[in-house]
Amino acid sequence: MSDVVIRAEQVGKQFRIGKKQPHSRLSEVLMGWLTGPFRRTGDGDSASETTFWALKNVNFEVHKGDVVGIIGRNGAGKSTLLKVLSRITEPTSGRFGIKGRVGSLLEVGTGFHQELTGRENIYLSGTVLGMQRHEIAARFDEIVAFAGLEKFLDTPVKRYSSGMQVRLGFAVAAHLQPEILIVDEVLAVGDAEFQRKCLQKISDVAHSGHTILIVSHSMISIQRLCNKCLWLEDGTATMYDDVNAAVDKYLTSFWPEADQTYREFELDESKPVQLTRISLHNQNGDPATSFSCDEPIGIDMQFEVRRDIAGVYGYLEFVRADGLTVLVSDSQDLASNPFTTLQPGRRTIRITVPPRVLGHGEYSIYLSFASKRAETFQVDLPGNTLAFRVSDLLTARGDNRGGVVSTLLEWKPIEA
């Protein structure tokens, strides 16, 4: 009974990389022609070019009605795979077979033109996404009602707020009903309410027997929506299996080794600033990997500052074992970003998580350092560095407490 609707065979995609594109200006091309008239230009296999494979020999089969989550780190090839399957870009090697009409949603408001009215844009965007005129006409009222923009139908979209544009864009996309839907998580932008509506709509479509491929970083939405999961790693399909099995494997794959109170990193002279050592300690300054909800968690980060590091900032995530990012911290959150004033040499920065913030559970510390002014945006990427455990020892509910945070609230009677 299970029909194959997508089948990828040895799909590969190669990109050219490097700062210098083969030719950026016509004059250079003409010079190229003049100086090397017999050089092969077709596939650019000349030795001077740097290429990399964004996808390598990817094989998988999707059956009718499957909802497949595509997971993997940044740059693993997830978006490239979606682009190949929606035929936006061609595979460099291999082939894939598709049965049925494909609709791809890789951004909200695809094809919108700012000068046109809401009404005109519904038709334009609908057509761009692959709907026929009569299909749009038939669902027009539904689309407008879903977006809640009845009053602004004849206003140019340029006068819409960004929220209104996103609502209209999603309303059009949500009423596209192809046999196979390809969705990128970028759809889930906007406020929480909108994200919920997005996911609800995708889940409705999923439960109505449509085939869906969805890329997401949120393991929680993947597990809620999907029955299958494809895990990409460096462009290769590492695992294609039942969603729970794949997500479990994925999450444990990058979990830091347990019971390490510190970690040191190999020196790399090319980085202007580098995290060389990270350690965990309790309020007495003793190394620790296990904490009570009622004590502060200390994280010491030692840096090697080598050059001017203006514009550098740090980014930290506390990721819970199920993949949920519980807390994000940015060194620019508070008025002064310490990195702007660090002098060259060995420097230490301390972060303290106050008591009763993180709930019980296991956490990983994910770290990234970047600069908008550096040649390569990423300055240092330690990634998941250390793991620690938090337990709720003092309250009656203890580790049976649900939710995410462990903050205690007072239940206070007030005089009427």
């Binding site: 299970s2 029909d3 194959v4 609707v5 089948r7 590969g12 050219r16 990389i17 030719h23 950026s24 200006r25 016509l26 004059s27 091309v29 030795a47 740097t50 290429t51 990399f52 494979w53 390598k56 020999n57 990817v58 094989n59 998988f60 089969e61 059956h63 682009k83 929606s86 035929r87 936006i88 870009t89 061609e90 595979p91 460099t92 090697s93 291999g94 082939r95 894939f96 077979g97 598709i98 049965k99 791809s104 890789l106 695809t110 094809g111 033109h113 000068e115 046109l116 005109e120 038709y123 334009l124 057509t127 761009v128 692959g130 005129r133 462009g235 290769t236 399909a237 590492t238 294609y240």
Partner: protein, 299 residues
Amino acid sequence: MRVDSQPRASVEFPRMSTNTSTEDLTWFGRRTVWDSINVMEIGRFRSLIWQFALRDLKVRYRQTLIGALWAVIQPVVTMIVFGVLFSTLDGRPTTSGLPYPVTSLCALIFWQFVATSVIAATQSISMNAQLVQKVYFPKIILPLASMIPPLVDLAIAAVVLCGVMIWYGIGVSLQILWLPLIAAGLFLTALAAALWFSAMNALYRDVQYTVPFLISIGLLVSPVTYELTAVLERMSPGLQFLYCLNPFVGLLSLIRWSILDTPFPPLVPLVVSGIGTTILLLSGVYNFGRMERLFTDRV
């Protein structure tokens, strides 16, 4: 240096079920040049062509002060300027004996179509770069759709030409029936040029600055403000040959022949120009097909 040559073989996954039907899948691999001009595929996207054309028309007329009038002003002013110029210099731009405004305007409105459509189409892919990277459609749709608004301009200008012809008391004869075919040829030739320029401009932005220059040269080296025979009789054979290689020479002369009943253009220049037209068409289509795969990765 190459970071990675041919990728290594990856894990084969066990098939989910053994008796699955896969023969009714449509397969896609590397695109060939001919995929780009697959007429069936383009036909499936015809509603998108109309939507893009409609978008361009609406946006243009909403942002301009004189709107459709612009389509008339340009050829008329060009006609007046060249008319005055030729009479001041004591030139002889015609051999047919027709009033200059009629013979000049007749070719000018079609040249105007070529000029505006090629310029619009040149930017069609780079201006829709965002779209090209987010949805699939045959890319040829973009230059094609951007040539439709200039067609509307042509229709408006044609009304003015009719008025001028009536004013001078010039009627049409039976060979006007050839006009649709000749005009279709002109459309295809302009499309061929548009395919060249739009594909090149997607990768090299300086093309869009070059095209207006080529167009203004084109006006001078095509029989637009003068008649073909008027220049040919004063050229050496070598120059004649070079001149006639211009793919638009034959078509513009034929347009004049079909509308104004001027003598049929001389055969040899017609054949030479026809060869030019064919080369432009085939190479334009081929080059577009070859470059199309680069648009998404490198626009």
